[in-house]
C-alpha cells in the first residue's frame, strides 16, 4: 500500500515483518473497549480482572495452517495476566504462487470480544464467580 502511494523505497521488512502489525490492531480493540466500558465494569476490571496484554505476533507461513491455528488467549500461572497473541501471515512480492503475493493476513481480536473479556472473562479468575453460599440463597 505504501508502494501504491508512490513510496518507491517502502521496505517490506520494516512495514510487514516487525511482528507487531496484528498486535497493534489488537491493542486498539482493547483500548477502544476500555474507552466505552461502563465505569463499574472498568472498576471491576482494574480491581479484580486479569490484566490483558497483547503479545508479539505469532508467524505462520502457510495459508491453510493460518486458518486452522487460532488467535490465542493464554493465562499466566497466577492467572493474573491473560496474553492475547495474534497470528500473522505476511507474504512478500516474490511468493512462488502469484495470487498470494503481497499479503498480510491477521487473526484479530474483535472489539466486541475485547468488551466481553473486560466485563466477563477477566473476572472469573479472582473473585468474580458467585460463592457457593450466594448460589444456595438463590
Amino acid at each position: 500500500m505504501h508502494e501504491a502511494s508512490g513510496e518507491g523505497d517502502a521496505s517490506y521488512e520494516n512495514l510487514d515483518l516487525t511482528g507487531t502489525e496484528c498486535q497493534r490492531i489488537n491493542q486498539a480493540a482493547m483500548d477502544w473497549a476500555l474507552s466505552v466500558a461502563s465505569t463499574s465494569a472498568k472498576t471491576n476490571y482494574l480491581s479484580y480482572g486479569q490484566t490483558i496484554v497483547m503479545g508479539h505476533d505469532a508467524i505462520q507461513e502457510n495459508g491453510g495452517l493460518w486458518i486452522y491455528q487460532p488467535l490465542t488467549e493464554k493465562e499466566n500461572t497466577e492467572k493474573t495476566v491473560r496474553t492475547i497473541t495474534g497470528l500473522a501471515l505476511p507474504l512478500d512480492e516474490d511468493h512462488y504462487i502469484s495470487i498470494f503475493r503481497d499479503m498480510h493476513y491477521c487473526k484479530l481480536l474483535s472489539p466486541f470480544r475485547a468488551l466481553e473479556i473486560i466485563y466477563v472473562d477477566s473476572q472469573y479468575a479472582h473473585g468474580g464467580y458467585q460463592t457457593a453460599n450466594e448460589l444456595f440463597l438463590q
Binding site: 500500500m1 505504501h2 501504491a4 502511494s5 508512490g6 513510496e7 518507491g8 517490506y12 512495514l15 510487514d16 502489525e21 497493534r24 490492531i25 486498539a28 480493540a29 477502544w32 473497549a33 466505552v36 466500558a37 461502563s38 463499574s40 471491576n44 491453510g64 486458518i67 487460532p70 488467535l71 505476511p90 507474504l91 512478500d92 512480492e93 495470487i99 503481497d102 499479503m103 498480510h104 493476513y105 491477521c106 487473526k107 484479530l108 481480536l109 474483535s110 472489539p111 466486541f112 470480544r113 475485547a114 468488551l115 466481553e116 466477563v120 472473562d121 473476572q123 472469573y124 473473585g127 468474580g128 464467580y129 458467585q130 460463592t131 450466594e134 448460589l135 440463597l137 438463590q138
Partner: protein, 173 residues
C-alpha cells in the same frame, strides 16, 4: 449455568427493587399511553455492546453476506463486512503515509477464509504520485471471516458471544 454467573454489583434486595420499579413503570406507561420507552439505564448499559457488535459485524445481528462476488451486496438482510476493519485495522496496518494528502480507503467484505471456489483475495486498486498536491486515495478491499464458538448456542453463559477471532486478509503494508 448458574455456577458460571458472576457476582452482581448490587445486592439481591436492591436488584429486586429496581426490577419491580421498572416493571411498574412499564405497565403504567403501556396502560396510560399505549407504549413504553426503554429504560435509560438499560440504554446506557447496552450502548457499548451494541456499538461493539456493529463494529465486529456480529452474526448475532444478521448473517454475513458471504456472496460469491468479491464485493458483497449492500442489502438489509445480511452484513457486508466489518466497520472495525475499515476504520481501525487497515489504517493501523498501513500506518502513516509520507504524503498526508494520500489515503487508503478500505471496503471490508465477509467471506469464509477457507473457501477456495470462489476464492476471495484482498485487492488494491489505484496508485498515487508521492508528490501529489491534491487529495488522492487508493482503494483496498479486505476479506474477513468472524469465527464463533458453536457451543455458545447451548447458552451456558461461559462461551463467548462475540467472535473469538476475526480472520482478516489484507494486502501487505
Amino acid at each position: 449455568m448458574q455456577k458460571n454467573d458472576l457476582r452482581a454489583d448490587i445486592s439481591d434486595t436492591d436488584a429486586h427493587i429496581k426490577i419491580g420499579q421498572a416493571m411498574a413503570t412499564f405497565i403504567k406507561d403501556v396502560v396510560t399511553t399505549g407504549k413504553s420507552s426503554t429504560n435509560s439505564e438499560t440504554v446506557a448499559a447496552m450502548k457499548p455492546f451494541i456499538e461493539a457488535m456493529i463494529k465486529e459485524g456480529s452474526s448475532v445481528m444478521k448473517p454475513p453476506c458471504n456472496a460469491d462476488d468479491m464485493v458483497n451486496p449492500t442489502v438489509p438482510t445480511c452484513i457486508k463486512g466489518s466497520s472495525w476493519i475499515n476504520d481501525f485495522a487497515v489504517p493501523l496496518l498501513v500506518g502513516k503515509l509520507q504524503n498526508s494528502l494520500i489515503s487508503v480507503i478500505n471496503d471490508d467484505n465477509f467471506h469464509p477464509a477457507a473457501a477456495v471456489y470462489p476464492y476471495h483475495h484482498p485487492l488494491l486498486e489505484g496508485t498515487c504520485a508521492l508528490n501529489t498536491t491534491t487529495e488522492c486515495s487508493i482503494k483496498h478491499t479486505s476479506v474477513t471471516e468472524n469465527a464463533y464458538n458453536v457451543l455458545n448456542e447451548l447458552d451456558t453463559g461461559i462461551q463467548a458471544v462475540a467472535a473469538y477471532e476475526m480472520r482478516t486478509k489484507m494486502k501487505s503494508s
